[in-house]
């Protein structure tokens, strides 16, 4: 009996390929194509509409000599580092507390996590209200007798970014805590027992045994926080609109304002390319560690 020819490779699993078309399209057109397009056009002098005139690094020179951009980078830096360190520390400590087999664990976790369910706009607005110097914390403490108490970060150009930090931490620490808790729960219970038999006090067990064992969780969490920080936008828009003046600008806002408000597409493209660069600097080493390293072990 003659054997039937196998259908050409293209037609095998045809249905699957058809079903995957949205993913393929998206991956190619939006992610690869869109990114490439923006990067390329950052070398043009597009204003209201994209223009094909290439001007080399002109946009980047203007970007880095713009006060607004420099301030936004500085803010991102401060916000980023503080956010990273503080949310990791606070998140871990909270997770360690919750891991102690306490009662009401679910209640505590529900309370600590609910801010994550809110929009950044909601978070920004409510903290704007709480930090309001006339009616908020400053007013309340003053009314308790501390006449000279001053706490209005949102009106102080030097420390406004910290006001935003407070709100940001409130929103996202719950998430970090959940990730850390999951990591803690993955630690073999016998390790704890062995440490108790050896007589190791609890804080040393955490510091020298458990945390080193949780390195993958820390790294993943770090990457997640970092990629979220670069994008901070809604929070600033809601809490301070970039103010007072331009002292709480962030790169994401700079880009949006340039593209849609000040009709300066070229600047917007340059700004977003810089943001992309920042993300790449964080992601690539991590990806190499995670995935490149594995190949070597095999």
């Amino acid at each position: 009996m003659a054997a039937t020819r196998r259908p050409p490779t293209l037609f095998r699993n045809l249905n699957a390929k058809i079903a995957a078309i949205p993913m393929i399209l998206t991956a190619l057109v939006v992610f690869v194509g869109g990114t490439a397009w923006t990067v390329v056009y950052s070398f043009t002098n597009s204003r209201l509409l994209p223009r094909e005139k290439f001007v080399g690094l002109d946009q980047y020179e203007r970007l880095w000599s713009s006060n607004k951009w420099l301030i936004s980078i500085e803010n991102l830096f401060i916000y980023g580092i503080c956010s990273l360190v503080l949310s990791l520390v606070i998140g871990f400590v909270l997770a360690a507390l919750l891991d102690q087999k306490i009662r009401f664990e679910n209640t505590f976790r529900t309370i600590l996590l609910y801010p994550f369910a809110l929009s950044f706009i909601v978070t920004g607005l409510v903290w704007q209200w709480i930090l309001n110097p006339q009616f908020g914390i400053q007013a309340v403490v003053r009314s308790l007798g501390f006449e000279s108490f001053s706490f209005d970060p949102l009106y102080n150009p030097d420390i406004v970014i910290y006001g935003i930090l407070i709100a940001g931490l409130w929103q996202s620490t719950g998430l970090i805590m959940c990730l850390m808790l999951a990591g803690l729960r993955g630690i073999d219970e016998d390790i704890w027992k062995a440490a108790r038999i050896d007589g190791i006090p609890m804080w040393k067990t955490y510091l020298f045994i458990v945390i080193p064992m949780m390195r993958p969780v820390f790294i993943t969490t770090l990457v997640i926080i970092a990629s979220g920080i670069v994008r901070v936008y809604d929070l600033v828009v809601a809490q301070t609109s970039g103010g007072p003046g331009i002292s709480s600008e962030v790169p994401a806002k700079y880009v949006y304002d340039a593209m849609f408000l000040s009709q300066n597409l070229g600047q917007g493209f340059a700004g977003s390319t810089m943001m992309l660069l920042a993300v790449i600097i964080v992601i690539v080493p991590w990806a190499y560690l995670e995935f490149g390293g594995r190949k070597r072990h095999v």
Binding site: K193, R196, I197, G199, I209
Partner: protein
């Protein structure tokens, strides 16, 4: 002075009584095995002795000292876990030294102890490696080493061989036995569900069930004179044969279950001699002989072969005797066929009788 003394120990979690009024005394240098199936409380008891679990009632003494309220590190014990629980980020040397460093021991003392442990356990070449680079057997030895360097004389083992494959298990079993012989005066309390491990390693075995000790004794006694039906059925592979029937005590006592009648004059009754009533008759497959070997034995009968399970060295035969199922062992070379009627026999002195209600040994 006993090495470990447990006095009326109980442990409950809320309404659930996990351990009930346990009494146990372990001598110095003894190898005691806590044996039982999962959930019987053996690991729980071990954790209580270690101090990892707080007991609800009772006392624990180690080397004459009341340690009921002491922290694990102050009880003078070392423990080896089923999952080894080695600190993954430290080298073997680091693992051995960590607890000692924490206790503030001087550096040369630490080095001395590590060297001694490494020599005894043959792990000298492994000292600089990390746990991930060791095989299962090597990791287990390092875990034992961690207990050794604590310079204690009570070792607790929580199913240490259960994670290993059968061949490795057999090898390490012997090594543990040799280790016990080498370290004189070291008491070892060993938890397992594997009766082979228990029989080969123990000086005495405590069979546990439902949080209570069923029988405490040396392997031979437990094997030959199980104190209740559960113990009889638990120990021995293949497991013991049971036949339900009655004991007729008057005159020459005998056991009857339908056509199966066994004279009991050679049977050693516990208590005050034979009592009548419903009972279970137990005889181990390896004590039932066939053919020529059965001649001369006090009980003889003919049984019909039903299923034959050749296992290489032996063959297990499933047969039907007066309507009751009877399994017995024959040499692996014997040839038998289904439906064949063969003569068998056994000595009732090697049997065990259990009361049908209390399941206690008669």
């Amino acid at each position: 002075m006993s090495s470990v003394l447990i006095n009326d120990l109980s442990l409950s979690f809320g309404e659930v009584n996990v351990l009930q009024n346990l009494d146990l005394e372990i001598g110095k240098g003894e190898f005691l095995v806590l044996l039982g199936s999962s959930g019987c409380g053996k690991s729980t008891l071990l954790n209580c002795i270690a101090g990892l679990l707080d007991i609800t009632d009772g006392q624990i003494f180690i080397n004459g000292r009341n340690v009921t309220w002491e922290q694990p590190k102050d009880r003078g014990i070392g423990m080896v876990f089923q999952s080894y629980a080695l600190y993954p980020q430290m080298t073997v040397e680091g693992n051995l030294a960590f607890g000692l460093k924490n206790a503030g021991l001087p550096k040369d003392e630490i080095a001395k102890r590590i060297a001694r442990a490494a020599e005894i356990l043959h792990i000298e070449p492994l000292l600089k490696r990390k746990p991930a680079q060791l095989s299962g057997g090597q990791r287990q030895r390092v875990a034992i080493g961690r207990a050794l360097v604590r310079d204690v004389d009570v070792f607790l083992f929580d199913e240490p061989l259960s994670n290993l494959d059968a061949k490795l298990r057999a090898e390490l079993r012997v090594e543990i036995k040799r280790l016990h012989q080498q370290l004189e005066n070291t008491t070892m309390i060993y938890v397992t569900h594997d009766q082979i491990e228990a029989m080969t390693l123990a000086d005495r075995i405590a069979i546990m069930r439902g949080g209570a000790i069923q029988q405490l004794g040396d392997p031979a006694t437990i094997y030959n004179k199980p104190v209740n039906k559960y113990v009889a059925g638990f120990i021995g592979s293949p497991s013991i044969n049971f036949v339900e029937g009655e004991v007729h005590p008057n005159g020459v006592p005998y056991f009857k279950a339908g056509g199966f009648e066994v004279p009991l004059e050679r049977y050693e009754f516990a208590g005050n001699g034979p009592e009548g009533g419903r009972a279970s008759f137990g005889i181990r497959p390896e004590h039932v002989f066939m053919g020529r070997a059965a001649e001369g034995l006090p009980y003889q009968a003919e049984t019909t072969v039903e299923v034959i399970e050749p296992m290489g060295a032996d063959t297990l035969v499933w047969s039907r005797l007066h309507g009751h199922e009877l399994r017995f062992r024959v040499d692996g070379q014997t040839s038998l066929s289904k439906g064949e009627v063969v003569p068998i026999g056994f000595d009732p002195a090697r049997a065990s009788l259990f009361d049908a209600n209390t399941e206690a040994r008669l």
